[in-house]
Symmetry: D2
Subunit: 367 residues, 4 copies
């Protein structure tokens, strides 16, 4: 039954509800000797902070992280790293009505069915605030990958019908972009579209894309714990994701074999793949080229429009969900996708260390 | 490093290479008292057997399963069920040349990178024959689900550009359909398309769809082990899958919130969802309506056309892959998708048994 | 590498160092609907509190627990229960010298060997304070077992050569006993013995015994996750334990088969075992009679006597460990043994729920 | 519920009943590149073969192992290694009466309680034959350890009251010793004692001791997955073990701190421990000195004397267990203890590879 842990060698356990005392995560299995401070974590948490533009909720969430254990003299010790973000707003007054009915598109009904009752305050454990733990842990994973030369870049690929064009990508604009889009022109159009969504009291879906560079070949296990399988689980575990693609993704269903196979040619004697339809993963393992994954998010289910909901007494009633809500999840989910990707890759990379007798002998005899 | 096990409470471990002595699986955690015989398993294995039409390879694979343990007096005993399918054709002569280069679209290169060398005979562990273990175990999972009233129906949704239309679905034709399509008209067109693929020495991608009926609400864990996350991993772990969709899947990126939320209406006093865009999963748990998943498969990488490959010496060379190969993976993958879905659902269902104190008291006091 | 989690279905993850910000635990997999408040936990934590007699250290540790998540309206919600005890005394000044050498009987040396450096303040992660997380989680496990009618009673069986006699057992005295001994006479002699240990600047070993009553037959898995195997791991994971016994334990090496087999006789038509040499466990499963386990603890390694230690520079030097230390671990370890036993039994009991098709059908059809 | 797997990185899954078709094991996570052949395994299996002296059962068990997967060109490939030993004698005729009652000291009763019924032929899954899978897998673990310079030596330490004296140890005699005793004199006396046991239709308990040499310091995780905790679980999971000791074991309960602490002295400038009461494990990790563990076995429960048993109808009746049975388990259990120790040590050693950033960088940059 326990479903709040992720990873085998780099294992995280998250806890906390949106209106409880706080949200936290315990990271177990972090290699010793990594320089780490709260600022390393805070930078990532700030990227998921709401209230950064009119397209994200105006709720005040000042998510300051505290490291409680596992770091000594500025370095990780190899023991569990516990991190906490205290919730500022624990008032539950706004949420009492919500206890009596089940909102469309939310987890209210299934929680009651599974557990007999639920913490109905602000979504409880199914709130978007749950991702704080993932991001805090993911910040550490990203730092380790960076030390090895591996980079993870993540951004909004599309919002509604508007998609960024790779030829317009300018990743330097991401930190300041309100919608996390690398294509300035697409962003302008997406903003206009979201303005209309707000006006129409509705919300929009979208796509997050993630590129991993410099991962060596051979990461991922061969049958069930394939790199793509683990990435699939990682991304589908983020609330609101309804599809995941690797490389060309859904387009391969219409592709032909001779086009879809990434063949090799030699340029100046150095062999290289002429294409990367596979998105850097073959046979469940990284193949040394860029790893490309996409998570497709549904529109925010919280909309201010009147909707028809189910009540606890099994009748239907019209409801209005008050408060200000994001017209789109995607821009705030970008860092979550980045962190889940990093956590997954690092975990498989650590598992990979014992894949050969040569590796084993190398480590054993140096110690 | 071990990646050949799947599941927590209903746990399977597969083993075997395409040209080794055999392929097998150990199922641990099967509840005691399930009537089980080899015929129950064989029926499922026969559905993935090649040579059933001109669209699947003509290789002779007579996959007869043997149950070696865990069944006594015709019922499961609660101890591990070991099953084996001996390989008939263990000749490796056809595969010696393959040792010297890496085929495009295959796992040859990454195996060598990860392990230092590989069993190059017929794909070794990355061969499609690896799925025999999944199907043998999945047959048991399907049988248990059936005992609870849960049915899993799986079929080819699309091949290339040709897609089955739900209004034409006739599931009764599936057992005799060469392409596992429930739409007779679509199948005829798909056959013509595949004939052209064979003629052009290429292959096609496609989509497998799976519908689960009568699963109660609340199956799935709330954060990382969500039902959709686990299904995502299950389906991406099948070789050749490049995208997975739940419910409306990729289409939600272009949907609006008020359309995408599945609202409730009351018909004759009984509340029901007016739509199922969510594909039966909310907040990571089944919501009581039909669960709908899709796995998107790439074209078979083995094609007879001349291709450019990488050699062990890091040069490029032209290769021709001899032998007869499937122009499409999808029809034979249908039963694999069905089995991975059943294994995932059953595992989470068993985990769900201890979700409440009421359940615990019920079981404890009846024993 | 992660070693700070315990359990499969009732899974706990502990974190924290003796001189960090705090110590905590996350409990994942607790069934929903259990009434729970901080007082339930505090009662158990108070039993391991130091400073309760002259035989336990006089350090002030006011271990007040706070529940941060997973409880709503006074009941567990099924989501992770995070608990924290803040450390009052985080001063590290007393511990700077300790960084330069490795104390005999402590983990100093092995931590440096494994991780390259260590948090040397007060034992860091290998401090006895690490058990706070186990006890907080174990208190919940004990409460669940109690709801099912299962009781766990734990006490000091022996200190040095002095052993409690079963014929003198009076369990009602345990809450007030400074040494947690159920035999008043033995306790008096043990106190005199410990006075002498203090005088001689040394410490003593001892034995903790634990009896579980009313556990039904069949708890425990059949090969590796046997009930006794899991109990063995649970108790050996407590710092200072050097032997574990089940039932007659070490004495069976000298027993004869016809004496050691627990035969049945019928009294008034009701069959009963005439003995319980097996300690309530057969074939790795509970057999319905009392479960009896013992953990044997070494003498506290922290003694004030001058000792010869290893330095970081690989020389030897004489050291004196300052401060007041317990002359014996055992009385404070009693509640830790109780909690590890309860956690183990509950975890296997939850796993046992899906052991038969009958159980599965019962739960599935009531929901 | 699945309890037939052991290990995290080097993971084994066993299956099979004493009177089914065979017994087997799947080893997942074995590093690639280890030279391996069936003879490597057979050597270990032969050490547990019955019928080697009059002190072990005369049943004919010709346990020839077959490797079915995971080895290619004489080396492990990194994929699962499946091994099988077919049962020669599958006749169940001798066991039909046994179905109606529960033998004292056996798992008959608990199996029926847990699963509702049992495979009553020859103990089914709780038969000693279950250890074949452990030994086959352990042989591989031992080979890997040997490649790293780590040796595991195991022998009968005591039978009944007769104990081997370390001053008489001659390990070279072990391969030919009928009782696996390194002390020739003790063995002679033990043989006389066992003759008397046979005459008296009873059986004897005993102790197996295991010494690991050349394991480096730092193996084992710091809280729950301590080396001693994992060894404790490993040894208690062997049928018939009722106590486990590390180092001085049970004697530490009567030791004093200043004696029990292993202090350091410098000899010719090289520091060394003056004693090894700890048995090579401190704080749950290997400390670089010899690791010493002991498993205490109960007398064989199968004795030919008349005993009083429980029937399925909950009455008592006298029974006689026919056939020839070992008067002692210990000599045949020696190799099982050795294998479980090796499996445990290797698994933790592989987990240890990612304990520091230095290790991670070393492996990542060499690949």
């Amino acid at each position: 039954m326990p479903g709040s842990s992720y990873g085998t060698m780099f294992r995280i356990t998250t806890w906390g509800e949106s209106h409880g005392k706080g949200i936290g995560v315990v990271v177990d299995g972090c290699p010793a000797g990594l320089p780490l401070c709260e600022e390393d974590i805070q930078t990532y948490l700030n990227r998921r902070k709401p209230g950064q533009s009119k397209y994200t909720t105006a709720r005040q969430e000042d998510d300051a992280v505290e490291i409680l254990s596992g770091v000594f003299d500025g370095k990780t010790t190899g023991t569990p790293i516990s991190m906490i973000v205290f919730n500022r707003d624990q008032r539950s007054r706004d949420y009492n009505e919500i206890a009596s009915f089940y909102r469309p598109g939310h987890a209210d009904y299934v929680f009651d069915q599974k557990y007999g009752f639920r913490d109905y305050r602000g979504g409880g454990r199914s709130s978007g605030r749950e991702t704080i733990g993932r991001v805090a842990a993911g910040a550490i994973a990203c730092k380790i990958l960076k030390e090895l030369g591996i980079t993870v870049t993540t951004y909004t690929r599309s919002i509604g019908e508007i998609s960024c064009m790779p030829e317009n990508y300018d990743f330097s604009r991401l930190p300041l972009s309100s919608l996390c889009m690398p294509d300035a022109d697409a962003e302008t159009r997406a903003q206009l579209f979201l303005d209309k969504c707000i006006e129409r009291q509705t919300s929009s879906g979208g796509t997050v894309e993630c590129i991993v560079k410099n991962a060596y070949a051979g990461i991922g296990e061969t049958v069930f714990d394939k790199l793509d399988a683990c990435l699939g689980k990682a991304l589908f575990s983020i609330g609101g994701v309804k599809a995941v693609e690797i490389g060309d993704g859904i387009a391969v269903s219409k592709a032909l074999g001779h086009e879809n196979n990434d063949q090799y040619i030699c340029k100046n004697g150095i062999p290289q793949k002429i294409s990367n339809h596979a998105g850097g993963i073959l046979g469940g393992m990284s193949d040394g080229s860029d790893i490309l994954v996409r998570a497709i998010f549904k529109p925010t289910p919280s909309i201010s429009r009147t909707q028809s909901a189910l009540t606890k007494e099994r009748t239907c009633r019209e409801i209005n969900i008050h408060g200000r809500h994001d017209p789109i999840i995607v821009p705030r989910a970008v860092v979550v996708v980045e962190c889940m990707t990093a956590l997954t890759l690092l975990d498989l990379l650590l598992q990979n260390m014992s894949s050969t007798m040569d590796n084993l002998r190398t480590i054993y005899h140096r110690t």
